[in-house]
């Protein structure tokens, strides 16, 4: 039997999620024996043509060329898994969705006419069918390995979609909101990181995006109580998963 092929693709992103794969120092060589790394430009100059068994896609769609490329990627991939907040929710670059992208371009570039960009940053699922979405900015290494193993074994990945609060309880972290009045998005944020921020004494800033059951109307008064005005709350919800939290706010 030949090994299943793995491909890694990148759209608009910071490379952090695909770096998570190279950060699997203990498992990397073992993994490379189980799958054939067929296309992973960041790690290998041998790029083999598709089709691929499993494609990991990092980054969001922000240019006309990428909108086309994502169709090709889909056509070449048996399973397509998006990795990270950019690919699953448009990422930080989706802040343009709430602004005037031409103004953004003029702010950053001396020659805005050279820039070919879309007015929005959208997740991969807005363009093609996606088999699984792994959240996080960046994704968690353990979850990534679980997803790869599950797809290779033909089962569903065991990635729960409860909130960060569950992970604080499991970790035994004292609730920063209850104990210190620290504003925290933990109650509405997707689990996966292991509740890092509260363990380091700060509130969750939502880098894993909305969890399975989000109750923003209940959370917002708490944020106000803990000293955030409307503008602060707005910004708090509009960062790495801006577009996903905005969707949750729509009635």
């Amino acid at each position: 039997m030949t090994a299943p092929t793995l491909a890694v693709f990148k759209l608009a992103s910071c490379d952090g999620c695909q770096l998570t794969l190279l950060d699997c120092e203990d498992e990397l060589l073992a993994l490379a024996e189980k799958v054939e790394i067929a296309h992973f430009p960041e790690a290998s100059s041998a790029l083999r043509p598709g089709p691929y068994d499993l494609a990991l896609v990092e980054g969001s769609v922000t240019t006309p060329a990428d909108a086309e490329r994502v169709q090709e990627i889909r056509a070449q991939s048996r399973f397509l898994v998006t990795i990270g907040a950019c690919a699953t929710a448009g990422g930080i670059q989706a802040l343009r969705n709430f602004s005037d992208v031409e103004e953004f371009t003029r702010t950053v570039y001396a020659r805005p006419d050279y820039i070919d960009t879309l007015a929005t940053s959208t997740p991969v699922s807005a363009h093609v069918d996606v088999d699984f979405e792994l959240r996080g900015c960046p994704i968690d290494r353990g979850q990534l390995l679980e997803v790869i193993t599950a797809f290779l074994a033909g089962r569903k990945p065991d990635v729960p979609n409860h909130s960060v609060c569950f992970e604080c309880k499991r970790r035994g972290t004292v609730c920063v909101t209850v104990a210190h009045g620290t504003p925290c998005l933990g109650p509405v944020t997707h689990a996966g990181c292991g509740a890092i921020c509260p363990a380091y004494g700060r509130g969750c800033y939502g880098c894993f995006g909305p969890s399975g059951s989000v109750n923003l109307p209940a959370l917002i008064p708490l944020l106000h109580r803990d000293g955030m005005d409307d503008r602060d709350t707005e910004r708090f919800l509009r960062t790495f998963n801006a577009a996903a939290f905005a969707k949750e706010r729509q009635p």
Partner: protein, 438 residues
């Protein structure tokens, strides 16, 4: 296509670099007329959406410019904003920042040396490929990288986009007991790092010389990492400095006549930042073990051969490991994890030495602490001119000497680009994103 006359060479997608880019080379009658490192990485507009954010946010937000050097972004951002607010953090917090930064140097340099760069010297496509013939070496590299990541994880909460950094210091500082296990791992890493220098020193290095000016931060008594004064070393040996607030007066975007791409120049001249520049400017301040490793590897006080940058990186890993151990050994938890940073209406400047070179940030704040303007100047954007220069020169030599084929040239150019470890995700800010149609 014939080798003589006019030809256009394209390297469609550069492998083993961070981010996505391509190369466009134009040769006319045996003369290289243009080498353009093309970045087709889409723009992400950080400088635009930082406007209107609170001054407490850039450390978390700008980390997302680059997943490989998030700490560099966090440190330059903190420094710039603290500078605007007139706050200086004291010694123990500065040391912890430096310790975190050492973790990033170790992690990022090990990644570059073993996973991205070494395969070029050993005729492999990737580290996985290399592991088939030299598994011990790849395992050593992964172990080293892991030691860097362990530091980042302990101090920052996680290795990519650490959560524990804030203005004025950290959300939580570690106890001495939490740092102790790291010291054990680092002592092993010190051995791996020295072996890395020896391993890399045995590679076959082609001759080449970069004649760009070097630019790096310099500190009076320590190898500069998390701060310092911008210092320029010219090829003729003259050393000059300028104050950080005038950074943008010296390092300027310029239009190159034959190209639509913008390049930054240092007082009108091509310059290079990164390991070669740091080593030439501050090499005498390395630790004894790093100096010894450099000497053993045959490095003089200055190295201008871009292929040997891999060697200088390896020496810097020896240093970063030593430095991390020194900080851990002397560590006493500070009384408070951070100092308060009240907002002030002002402009602040910050620069630190990212693994790939000098990273400058400037922020303008209003009295409430809202960011009204942000400028980020990453190393790759500065190095691009020098990289292209290097390409033109080396390709010219390859054509004149032995009429190199397109295939050879492609390989040569890819190698040359990887020497400089460009981080393309962060370079997009400057570049021409149109794909040239010929």
């Amino acid at each position: 296509m014939t080798h003589r006359g006019s030809r256009v060479l394209r390297v469609g997608s550069l492998a083993r670099v961070e981010g996505e880019g391509a190369l466009h080379l134009r040769v006319h009658n045996g003369r290289v007329e243009e080498a353009r490192l093309q970045i087709y990485e889409p723009p992400r507009f950080f400088e635009a959406f930082l406007r209107g954010r609170s001054y407490t946010e850039p450390p978390d937000i700008t980390a997302r410019v680059c997943g490989i050097c998030p700490v560099a972004y966090q440190m330059s951002a903190c420094q710039a904003i603290e500078d605007a607010c007139g706050v200086t953090v004291d010694r123990p917090i500065r040391d912890l920042r430096r310790l975190l930064y050492c973790g990033e140097w170790i992690e990022s340099h090990a990644l570059h040396i073993y996973l991205l760069h070494a395969p070029d010297f050993l005729g492999c496509d990737s580290a996985v490929d290399l592991a088939r013939t030299d598994r011990t070496a790849v395992q050593r590299g992964l172990r080293l990288k892991q030691a860097g990541n362990a530091l980042l994880t302990q101090l920052g909460g996680r290795a990519i986009h650490p959560v524990n950094v804030r203005l004025g210091g950290f959300h939580r500082t570690p106890t001495s007991a939490e740092l102790r296990p790291l010291a054990e791992q680092l002592r092993r890493a010190a051995e791996d790092a020295r072996k890395t220098v020896r391993w890399v020193a045995g590679f076959d290095f082609p001759d080449a010389v970069v004649d760009a000016d070097f630019l790096a931060l310099a500190s009076p008594s320590t190898y500069a990492i998390e701060g310092g004064t911008p210092t320029r070393l010219r090829a003729d040996g003259t050393l000059t400095t300028f104050p950080l607030p005038s950074f943008l007066d010296h390092v300027r975007e310029a239009q190159v006549p034959h190209s639509t791409a913008l390049h930054s120049r240092l007082d009108g001249r091509r310059h290079l930042t990164g390991p070669l520049a740091r080593y030439a400017i501050s090499g005498n301040l390395l630790s004894p073990a790093a100096l010894e490793a450099a000497r053993e590897a045959g490095l003089g006080p200055e190295c201008r051969n871009p292929y040997r940058s891999v060697l200088v990186r390896a020496v810097e890993v020896v240093y970063a490991v030593d430095e991390a151990l020194r900080i851990i050994d002397a560590y006493e938890p500070p009384p408070r994890p951070y100092v308060d940073v009240p907002p002030v209406e002002a402009t602040g400047h910050g620069a630190t030495e990212a693994p790939r070179g000098l990273l400058y940030h400037r922020y303008r704040l209003d009295a409430e602490g809202t960011v009204t303007d942000a400028q980020l100047v990453p190393p790759t954007a500065q190095n691009q001119g020098a990289i292209e220069d290097d390409l033109v020169r080396s390709v010219q030599t390859a054509i004149t000497d032995h009429d190199a084929s397109d295939h050879e040239l492609t390989h040569l150019c890819e190698r040359l680009i990887r020497n400089h470890d460009p981080c393309i995700s962060c370079a997009t800010h400057f570049l021409d994103l149109t794909v040239e149609r010929t």
